[in-house]
């Protein structure tokens, strides 16, 4: 389905992504992990064609998307939705308009400049917002929403594109643990219910273990791990992050877990 072959991206002399190859045969929830500067974002941006690759092939259903130009390239971008760490919505426009932007590739520039959306389009946008639980926010400006809500608007925009692939570039890195869980649950649900492929850059290991079917670990632009979440042991994580024995993932973990303190809970509820 998606085949990445020897993809390299050079910035000056330095390779941000260095000869990366992997293959995804069927729709899956794939996590890409690695420390900052490992090339995760560059890899996703190349898939969406926000950044050009220096060499290599990314083939989706047999067609190389890296060589597309003009309208064909924009059509591919329409099929391959992107979700960003900082949401990248238009802050001064209302939520429903931001969701309708998912249709930009299919509508004429003139119609979109004057906001001439059909009732059917608006109804679909509102249905998607409803599905993500934020339909009542539709007339508000995007900038008035909390981070978690904005990220859900971004997911709604992605769904409006009706994409085959959803790329999520650190979708929860600027969210608190509660909102992070809501957003990740939404992405997982979209993958399971619609069968869309999701590729997410993540920087917390517990999130990768909990939500992904497959995890790809990157270090200095190279793929150093490719396997199931179960294979992602602490030792492997140390290799991916280039850390020594003092690395302890629970030190910075944001997972809301741990044994329940029944006595404390009773005391608080009494």
């Amino acid at each position: 389905m998606l085949k990445v072959e020897n993809v390299t991206r050079l910035f000056g002399q330095k390779a941000a992504v260095d000869n990366v190859s992997f293959q995804i045969d069927r729709s899956a929830f794939v996590g890409v992990i690695g420390r900052s500067g490992a090339g995760k974002s560059t890899l996703l941006r190349m898939m969406n064609r926000l950044t050009d690759a220096s060499s290599g092939v990314i083939a989706f259903e047999g067609r190389d998307v890296l060589t597309l130009q003009g309208a064909a390239k924009r059509a591919w971008q329409g099929q391959c939705a992107m979700i960003f760490q900082q949401f990248n919505l238009v802050p001064r426009m209302d939520v429903a308009s931001n969701v309708l932007h998912g249709l930009l590739n299919q509508r004429s520039t003139f119609a979109t400049m004057f906001n001439l959306w059909s009732d059917a389009d608006i109804t679909r946008a509102l249905q998607i917002l409803e599905r993500l639980g934020i339909a009542e926010q539709a007339p508000k400006r995007a900038e008035a929403l909390s981070g978690g809500q904005q990220q859900r608007v971004a997911i709604a925009r992605a769904l409006m594109q009706d994409p085959a692939v959803i790329l999520a570039d650190e979708p929860i890195a600027s969210l608190d643990p509660m909102n992070a869980q809501v957003v990740m649950d939404a992405l997982r649900r979209i993958h399971e219910e619609d069968g869309r492929m999701v590729i997410a850059n993540l920087h917390t290991l517990d999130t990768a273990r909990r939500y992904c079917d497959r995890v790809i670990g990157m270090r200095d632009g190279r793929v150093v791990f490719d396997g199931t979440p179960d294979q992602l042991t602490t030792g492997v994580a140390r290799d991916i992050y280039g850390a020594d024995a003092s690395f302890n993932e629970s030190a910075t973990s944001t997972a809301i877990t741990g044994p329940r303190d029944a006595a404390y809970a009773d005391a608080m509820l009494a």
Binding site: T123, L129, A135, P139
Partner: protein, 292 residues
Amino acid sequence: MVDITFGPEPGKRPDLSNPTEAYIHLARRKRLYGFILLILFVALMASGFKIAQDRNAGDFLSGLHQLGAFPSEVLSEAWKNRANLPALLWQHLPSLIETLNIAAAATLLGGAFGAFLALGSTRHLARFPALTPLFRRTADIMRAIPEIVIALILIFILGGGPVPAVLAIAFHTAGALGKLFSESAENADLKPVEGLTSTGASWGQQIWLGIIPQVAPNWLSYALLRFEINIRASAILGFVGSGGIGYDLKLAMQWGGGKYDQVVAIFALLFCAIVVFDQLSGYARNRLVKGQ
């Protein structure tokens, strides 16, 4: 009666408690308002054009064939005396340099005073927030008065020469750059200032280290744009006796034929100077803004 005015309407009314219908309703209303505004705009433009044409003394179309009369007279005379052109270009070069000097000095003076006005009138940054309206109105007044009016007054007081021209252009420049500088300072990120404030920095230190590095490329780019405008302004001021190439142009042109070769030489010099500085400052601005 009530039924006629308020319904019952045919079809069902939108159910505003349903978010979808409420939003479609809102979108339709926005679209309608936009359409009404567009029609108003077109109607105003059309009627305005008619009023303007009725007030015109001559008729544009019937006068059109005379458009080329003066330029062709100038050019044909200059062509007859074309052998003089190189010498004339050389002869007028010093006055061109004078004009450029006037523009440069005025931009420097005006820019410095404009920066002062900008820092006094920018919200969140001003040392004395209560005085921001005073600084703003000062800049407004300086901007509102045309250079030529100030130049005429100063020439009356100081006599002709480059000094009144520099002062007149600098006055206007300070107002114009004050406004532009303050706009770009208003858009500056305040986080570095907060960081510096947290270390106990004074207002001057906060501005110099937190704001100036951020706005410097923008300010320089505005100042360069203003320099281009000031070259033209200083050439025009020559007509009212402030020296420079404008004064030469006036002498060559005012009594009609006979010196049209000089007119052509002066125009060629001015044109070249403006093109050269336009290109140079465009290049410099690009480098500043893109930071390479």
